[in-house]
């Protein structure tokens, strides 16, 4: 019989979420109390401390792996990995936003609060093993990003971006939810382990296939996989630049975590060609459409579609190879993309005036540091060795080849070559074109320097000595995949009602 009240270990296993919520609330409470000028520094600092505390608590959480809250969440290497990842992304985001918010003259309080609250959702997504919780945390992360996307309230594009994201996001959520309902209908459970057990025993009900399809629509939308990617460019273009860096990585990573759990742990039936096709479409559409973009934010949006495609390639591979590849890729992509957006948001200046390629002309001369850092991020996005991007791709394609997905790999590498073009275009513009109009480049504040240094270090670290990371993700993936064998867990505890037979 389950204990009637949660015990200490239960709380430890959601410690990061608790800590982040507390800090979020603290910001919320403090916001009206401090005046405009100080709020930026104070609340931003508080947010920063919050994320740091979140990291520390994640470490504490990691010390006691296991289930909590009656099989609602599971703490293992896998969830720890994504906890650290999303919190770290948020950390960099806060560092980047510091200056950005001041330049854009935006109110700070709710912003940092929303980030922290959003983090709660994303963290929970990675550790939740119950579809109810997954749904709610998914909504938390989504709604907070809807709001963040519309944060530049004076700008028509920002609110439009927010609206589109919101409408389509809710639309997709409805699909996801319908899928959950069907899955519940097919297996009689909303717990992933139970679902997995049901699906792996005997013939898979047809309803489960439909459920998978609908859930894939919802999650595919969140990770911007084709054909559910179309919202991405519009939303990314309109949303505030640092937020784009955030929402192209953190919620995405969390969504991938969910996708990993659902697809691999639950061993989703009939997924292969679905993922294959989606991967190919994502890579190709993303890369091809990016070729003629001259808005950098939009360009990076298309690129994020393509990267989602590369990640999906790993989903088509054998689970034990694909899962670590996905994890590594999300981390590497986070490092380089957040970094790239940090540069973009710094350059964007007031009202995000300077976000077209044209504005980047001559950057190599006017600000070698920014140009150099951006170049490294772009090189990593292209996937040239000793950057994280290379190993990310390498690992994905290696997993695919080991699973004999030759064509998928070939399409993938060709795509990464196509992709090289538009990243290169930015480099070319920065170094080889002369600026036609004077684009003011503000001095780089300390926080941004820190953000750039962090992302740069991560990008290079993952490119030069990826070994530890790879070992770690392999072990976590192992845990994820072996979960069903090791846990002889009791059924979800609503045993009060007897199960009916059909």
């Amino acid at each position: 019989m389950n204990p009637t009240l949660p015990v200490g270990a239960d709380y430890v296993r959601i410690l990061p979420e608790i800590v982040l919520s507390i800090f979020g609330m603290a910001i919320m409470v403090l916001d009206p109390l401090v005046d405009e000028k100080k709020s930026q520094q104070l609340l931003g600092g508080l947010g920063l401390i919050g994320t740091l505390a979140g990291l520390v608590s994640t470490w504490i959480m990691a010390q006691s792996p296991g289930f909590a809250f009656w099989n609602m969440v599971q703490v293992d290497g896998f969830s720890v990995f994504f906890h650290v990842l999303v919190i770290a992304i948020a950390l960099v985001l806060i560092l980047t936003s510091y200056e950005y918010m001041a330049v854009q003259q935006l109110r700070a309080g709710e912003y940092y609060g929303l980030i922290l609250f959003g983090l709660v959702g994303m963290c929970l997504m990675s550790s939740a093993v119950e579809l109810v919780l997954i749904f709610i945390s998914l909504e938390i992360s989504s709604i907070s990003t809807y709001i963040l996307a519309g944060f530049r309230r004076r700008s028509a594009t920002s609110s439009e971006s927010s609206l589109k994201y919101f409408l389509l996001g809710s639309f997709a959520t409805a699909f996801f939810l319908y899928g959950v309902a069907m899955m519940f209908g097919a297996t009689g459970s909303t717990n992933i382990d139970a679902i997995s057990a049901a699906l792996n025993s005997g013939k898979v009900p047809l309803l489960a296939y439909v459920a998978m399809a609908l859930m894939f629509v919802g999650l595919g939308f969140k990770v911007a996989a084709a054909p559910f990617h179309i919202w991405t460019p519009d939303v990314y273009e309109g949303a505030p630049a640092p937020v784009v860096g955030f929402m192209s990585t953190a919620p995405k990573a969390a969504a991938f975590a969910v996708l990993l759990r659902i697809i691999f742990e639950a061993n989703a039936p009939g997924r292969f060609w679905l993922i294959w096709l989606s991967a190919v479409l994502s890579m190709t559409l993303g890369n091809v459409a990016a070729l003629v973009q001259d808005n950098v934010k939009r360009l990076l949006a298309y690129s994020s579609i393509a990267h989602a495609g590369y990640i999906l390639v790993a989903f088509a591979a054998k689970p034990e190879l694909g899962a670590p590849a996905v994890m590594f890729y999300t981390a590497a992509y986070a490092a380089m993309n957040v970094g790239a957006f940090a540069v973009v948001s710094h350059l964007a200046n007031e009202n995000e005036r300077y976000v077209t390629l044209e504005n980047y002309a001559g950057l190599g001369r006017s600000s070698p540091i920014l140009a150099g850092t951006l170049t490294i991020f772009l090189i990593s996005l292209i996937g040239i060795p000793i950057t994280g991007g290379f190993f990310a791709k390498f690992y994905v394609f290696s997993a695919a080849l080991q699973s004999n997905l030759v064509w998928l790999t070939i399409i993938g590498v060709i795509n990464s070559a196509i992709g090289a073009y538009y990243y290169l275009k930015i480099i070319v513009v920065m170094y080889m074109r002369e600026a036609r109009e004077e684009v003011p480049v503000l001095p780089i504040p300390l926080a941004l320097r820190a953000a750039l240094a962090l992302t740069l270090a991560a990008t290079v670290y993952l490119g030069v000595v990826p070994g530890r990371m790879l070992t770690f993700v392999q072990q976590s993936a192992q845990q994820l995949l072996q979960a069903e064998h090791t846990s002889a867990r009791e059924q979800v505890g609503n045993a009060a009602v007897p199960r009916a037979t059909q």
Partner: protein, 172 residues
């Protein structure tokens, strides 16, 4: 038999409301149609035994949430819909897609779950049982919804306040 009749009657109201939602051109009418749908759905929930859910459906959903809608419609002074032709994709691809998808799902539902039947009040969802679940097994999601609500409040504050930073007026 009664069960079936009730199901059919309220199901028909439900569908009629949904279709009315689609054909009405004024948002207020659509919103009210949705209230009709919700109300009749509440009856369907009752038929299935989900008393608590039916109650919440009427009180919270139809009562509170829809009021918010109506309030906003009034606030924004939304008039009759313009019939702009902004999207061919939605008509040419979307509608057939929905119909095809819907039919497929319907086929699956009929084909694979056809034999199972439920009686009147098949699974009684009394508030107490629901409450037990909610504060024990589903304690964490329940608590987490508080974060969700916090976010919603903050979002409303951020988005609906007047953009001028000098005189922040908070509405909602």
């Amino acid at each position: 038999m009664l069960h079936l009749v009730l199901f059919l009657v309220f199901g028909a109201i439900c569908v009629a409301g949904a279709i009315n939602l689609l054909v009405q051109s004024h948002p207020i009418s659509s919103a009210l149609s949705l209230v009709v749908v919700m109300a009749s759905l509440a009856v369907e929930y009752l038929l299935l035994g989900a008393e608590f859910v039916a109650a919440v459906q009427v009180i919270v959903y139809a009562g509170a949430v829809m009021v918010l809608f109506v309030f906003v419609i009034m606030l924004l002074n939304a008039g009759v819909e313009e019939r702009t032709k902004g999207s061919r994709v939605a008509l040419i691809l979307g509608i057939p897609g929905v119909l095809a998808g819907g039919l497929l799902v319907a086929w699956v539902l009929i084909e694979r779950t056809g034999t199972a039947t439920v009686g009147l009040g098949a699974l009684p969802g009394f508030p107490k049982t629901i409450g037990n679940l909610l504060f024990h097994d589903f304690l964490l999601p329940f608590e987490v919804t508080s974060v969700l609500v916090l976010i919603a409040i903050m979002g409303a504050v951020v988005l609906a306040s007047r953009p001028e930073p000098k005189n922040p007026e908070k509405e909602s």
